[in-house]
Amino acid sequence: MRALSVLVSVSLSVLLVACSNPRQEVTVQLANDVLLPAHQQWRDSNAALVDAVETYCAAPQASVDDLETAFYQAQSRWSHLQPLMVGPLSEGNRSWQVQFWPDKRNMVVRQTESLLDETDSLTREQLEKASVVVQGLTAFEYVLFDQSVALAQSHDRYCPLLTGIARHQLALSESVLALWNEPGGMLAQLRDFPNERYATAEEGLAAILRTQITGVDVLKKKLGTPMGRLNQGVVQPYQAEAWRSRQSIENLQASLQGAQAVWERVRSLVSDAALVKDIDQAYADVANQLAALPAPLMELVQAPANSETLTTLYAALDNLENRQQTELARNLNIQIGFNANDGD
């Protein structure tokens, strides 16, 4: 009995410490107010996409506008979520099912058309068994926006695929959301410590920050790839993410807002006021430059006159990444990278 009371008092003191631990508070706030809502909004946008595609495909003469709007929204929610996808969505190759990018060999077109050639009317089961290349938003975007696809005249061919993809996305997002909400699931693992995944709130916070910083690094890739930074300076407009829907810049903005939502919560933990100001400014720089871009990214990269503008934007993203990866990580004493990024 005495041992039990000692245990209870220890547990109570741990609880009190936990309640007054700012890092734990921020971690819980991030989980409740930023990460989970972002997953829910992604799920909701997929539900709206299912509705829109069913409406469109049910009426042969229907306008495609509402479907395009629903697609933009689903793509935007997914972009917003990418710097926030700590846990289930980042595991088990799930994110490949949402989007196939980069698509260096134009596999989306080849595999989509070949799948449709092989099937009379694509079933859900056939899509589930197919490659991730045709299961996600990139294949959906191809059908909806590529000039080689006469969608209005080819409902029979393409509607089963569009419907299947939208339903697949909805099912995927619901299964991820379930992994967040289940007892002992991701939400609980970012709230109650220690748990199966994290020993401390500190570890949970570090995982969120790593995901967010990786998300900013992905923004650099999404900008840098069409600019030709990985191609000896030769521009690659068709390697831009979402080039067919001309939504590359809007997606970058959505991702930036997702990353910034983490920073807004973490800011209170930073002891260096100058650093806070620098990071605030770094976000503002990137946001302002993105907002000022006058045309879709795949068009901008093709005009040499825009080179300086894009290079400046890239440098601003680089600055944002470095401020967080080095200075913020050092200030918070949080370790960002190690073996996983540079293995052997």
């Binding site: 088990g92 190759n93 570890e203 052997d344």
Partner: protein, 370 residues
Amino acid sequence: MSLTRRKLLGAGAAMAGVAVLGGWSLWTGTAGESPLLLSARNDDDGQHYAVGYYLNGKRAFATPVPERCHAVARHPFLPVALYVGRRPARESYLIDLRDGRLLQTLQSQPDRHFYGHAVFHARGEWLYTTENDTREPGRGVLGRYRLDQAALRLIHDGEATTHGVGPHELAWMPDGESLVIGNGGIRTEGGSREEMNLDAMAPSLVIMSRHGELISKETLADAQSSIRHLDVAADGTVITGQQYHGPAYNSVPLLAIKRPGEAYQPFPVSRAQLAMMDQYTASIAIHSEQRQVAMTAPRGNRFFIWDLDSGDTLLDAPMSDCAGVGAVPGGFAVTSGQGKCRYYDSRTADVQSQWLELPGGWWDNHLWLS
């Protein structure tokens, strides 16, 4: 005062005494000893160390070293260990385990670099390392070094081919005379970590005598699966872990098994588990007494334990940047590159986990427990 073998043997006994004093309450079944964990580790500023910690959290030593190390080869009876330079390192470090003193910086031979792994022969005289022939990049070399036990220095004595490209981990077969080697199949130039032949990889699992004779050489179906890490059970069963260099969304086997007298083949792992590994396996440990195999997947932040014979899953759990794993009484100890280290008690199907009081993060991908 120069060290001698006699003094070091005495020191070994003293060290065991410290371990007993340290005590680790979990393992009351093994005379309360707290095993010594040897590993390469960094600090927050990027300084590399050769470290020794008792599993109860007590630090034995942390010796700064110029190059980042990868795996550790413990001498069979002297309290010394070689911390092996991570590819393409030109240095490895012979450390006195009593106090962490650097006994020798072992330089690689001209036109050779270390690949991060080495083993001491059971009689204590010979050390074998995997190395790259930089004049013919990728050609696998088994470096042979003699330990001068009086001077406590390793002296290069010769080499043999590993009968493959880009060798990585090696281990003794139960006879103690033949080695199993994972030839990763990847060609890298001297001084570089850049893969030069991802479209023409040639990985292989080789069993050879320590003198160089090839006993067997086997391959897997997928040439882009680099065979890198492995462990050997007491009965000679070999488990290997692969790293896949094809498309990230493909599903290919990442573990393979060679049972005694049988062909090398994929170890049965579900597609769902494979998808959690992000095409990358790091460290493999077999628990011979419990007939279990454990594996870390740091990119997938996932740690697994399977039954070695049935392939049944005992544990499939998240663990940030899980790094080195080693068998300990009752289960496995696992380090992490980013978080706290853990002990998993896998004596029953209901595997229990406990955080270890070791420093968190910055552990490299391999450990040696003794």
